[in-house]
Symmetry: C2
């Protein structure tokens, strides 16, 4: 038995499917060497685990860690500000000038220290993160994230056109060369928790030559990919002008072999039938970012449709389009926005339930990382211990009710008591 | 100089209009006898205030208190739960069974203690509150609210039809008689902070006879009124069936003289031209409750239109249709929902800015209480002192940026340091 083997006691809840919770009041979750060995009712712990140390969290909730599959680290410094423009103007007016600052490593150090510390203390156990185009700052971010103990993918951003001079790589060759340099540096660092992910910003800022080169690097090193897709109507119109050869925005990535089961496309608010078919065929993940899509007036993704089609789907905070890195907020926002979409746009698509939104944040996005997002036997042991005693009520509540309530009120009386990632306890 | 006269030092911000902030970095706010005597730059404090005690809050933000003009105290116990139904089904399945419990004073004591304590510690300085139909529990709630020092209106609910037997008054006469009894009791209590407000639940649960009787009580005692209006399409259809004589839902209240400058109608998501005209003509307040309207899939009120028409408008949390009593959350939800409405429903109505939403929460709803909602000279001195040092950023921020950010992130690093209502410091 290694030090990574133990038992947690508490009120345990995780998703068996998008609609069904497994519930173990006063249950026992067993971790062996970083993976779950199953969850048991109080009196049913198998004899073989009887000698494991037990951490007793009383009647606190124990749930799987939450996976934020789309977030921009350098934008964290202006979260909750500059919310008055749509996507393309917002990028030019606020985002690009801020990301430019990450050329300066001392600014990057200040900004990324805050981001990494706040992410460490958040409900997020795993995250998929955009950095900037700057290699040194991206490596600095990866160093800081490695130290948190969270599992992360981090991308040096590629952008070689339609960007201001101060935030654009000279040409595709320069961007690809910087990417290879970055990948080589990262390989030498032998991170345990942090991995690189190819990150073309989005088609408008990436030439065909750049996308083609990234597709080749992806194939050569078997790397994952992240980008943006069909977020905003003006953006989609622009891509149509830029790539008249493509029948849909998604095709501009698919054409260069950038899609697949290790690719995440953020947003997909307006995916056409063709695009959905491409996402389905390639197994590409959709990162639904409801808060950002509201604050940038982008719209509301038809998540019910994507779930019906069997797409791979998860949730992202998309800071700083979204203001909060709280993934429980993303869960409740997903529910709220799906209800407004049902009411205002399309009553053929039922709103998401809280169970479905919680599933998206755990198993949905978690599957991108492997066997992640559940406390069931065989999954990597990512767990949150949640104190909801500050959310007071005169009622007696079930464990399922308490989890539902925590999704809505995590930041209004809820507290994170402990966080485990792959069996390791994170310093809070 | 009485004990209620002092100076607060800090980074001061309040609304001059829906679009303009008054900003006083390192400013001085003077309170004399519960009212503002003006806000001054650091070196410009008039000599006559030089001897006042100064409370130095350093570089914390000082802003007007927030006014929650629509919230249901007895629903607080199931906030963040039972979010899977639309309004009418939600009332029958969850709300009415919970409100029934307030017949039991010991349950009411537990529930209302939590509500009053949490409201006291919230960003709310003044609130307009629904209780239940039960007179003793409503008086208990008023006792508890009186002790908080917050300024509140509280309503014993009237409902004599279309409600379950366990939560319905026998008939209009019984409801009116209970109301008079309640008003008489309240008068004898001589509250300093807490006032009664007539509270017909909504037209579907109030017979014409009851509404008529309440209109008479309103006139007799010159009382304010609160109710619900045009929240949900099914509710509106139902009112059309119930009141075929009325050309719009709003008419069902106007007909019985229940509207006016001391009346609040919650929601108004679907007000017709006729209804808007009635609201305008009577000076009736609209309580916009964006979070509730999302979670109950009710829709999104056209606030831009109401502001263009010059209606009286403010913000409410509508707990437990809304999950959170945090009025800063209501501010940011108003912005987010207005953007989704612009995108999904009607691009002729521009989204609300953060300045406009903050105005709604301060001066907008505050004006219902008199000269309330500003720190300008002559206003009742309601102030919040806000510590935003936990919302970290590598950037230098202006006071306006910090307030904007606080609206989005009040519960993600923000803290309430102090709260003043009419010049009195509230115990936190």
């Amino acid at each position: 038995m290694d030090t990574n083997s133990f038992v947690l006691r508490g009120d345990i809840c995780y998703s068996l499917s998008p609609t069904v919770f497994a519930l173990y009041p006063h249950g026992l979750a067993v971790c062996i060497g970083g993976r779950s060995a199953g969850v048991y009712d109080a009196n049913e712990l198998p004899e073989r685990y009887a000698a494991f140390p037990v951490v007793d969290y009383g009647c606190q909730l124990i749930v799987p860690g939450l996976n934020d599959i789309h977030v921009h680290a350098p934008q964290y410094g202006f979260r909750g500000m500059a919310m008055d423009l749509e996507l393309l103007d917002w990028l030019n007016a606020y985002t690009f000038p801020e990301e430019k600052k990450y050329l300066d490593l001392s600014y990057a150090d200040r900004g990324y220290t805050i981001f990494a510390e706040d992410l460490q203390h958040s409900f997020t156990t795993r995250a998929i993160i955009f950095a900037t185009m700057h290699v040194p700052a991206t490596e600095l971010l990866m160093d800081k994230l490695e130290a948190t103990g969270l599992k992360t993918y981090v991308g040096k951003v590629n952008m070689d056109r339609n960007s201001p001079d101060y935030l654009s790589e000279t040409d595709a060759a320069a961007s690809l060369s910087a990417t290879r340099e970055w990948l080589s540096d990262v390989k030498a660092k032998h991170y345990a928790n942090t991995s690189p992910i190819l990150t073309p910003r989005f088609t408008p800022t990436c030439s065909d030559e750049l996308l083609q080169g990234l597709g080749e690097i992806k194939a050569q090193f078997n790397l994952p990919v992240q980008s943006h897709l069909s977020e905003n109507p003006s953006e989609i119109d622009w891509v149509r002008d830029l790539c008249p050869w493509a029948d849909c925005y998604g095709r501009t990535y698919e054409h260069f072999n950038l899609l697949g089961e290790q690719t995440i496309m953020a947003h997909c608010n307006y995916s056409t039938d063709e695009e959905i078919e491409i996402l389905k065929k390639t197994g590409t993940y959709v990162a639904h970012c409801p808060q950002s899509n509201a604050f940038l007036a982008s719209g509301i993704a038809p998540m019910r449709r994507y779930m019906q089609k069997g797409l791979n789907v998860g949730l992202g905070t998309d800071v700083a389009g979204g203001a909060s890195i709280n993934m429980f907020r993303a869960v409740s926002d997903a529910v709220a926005c799906s209800k407004l979409r049902w009411r205002c746009v399309d009553q053929s698509l039922a709103p998401l339930t809280i169970q479905e939104a919680f599933y998206l944040a755990t198993l949905g996005g978690g599957s991108f990382f492997g066997k992640v997002g559940s406390l069931a036997k065989g999954y990597e042991f990512d767990a949150l211990v949640l104190d909801d005693s500050g959310i007071r009520s005169p009622r007696e509540l079930t464990v399922a009710q308490r989890l539902e309530r925590f999704c809505y009120l995590s930041n209004e009386g809820g507290k994170l008591t402990a966080k485990y990632v792959a069996g390791k306890k994170i310093q809070l």
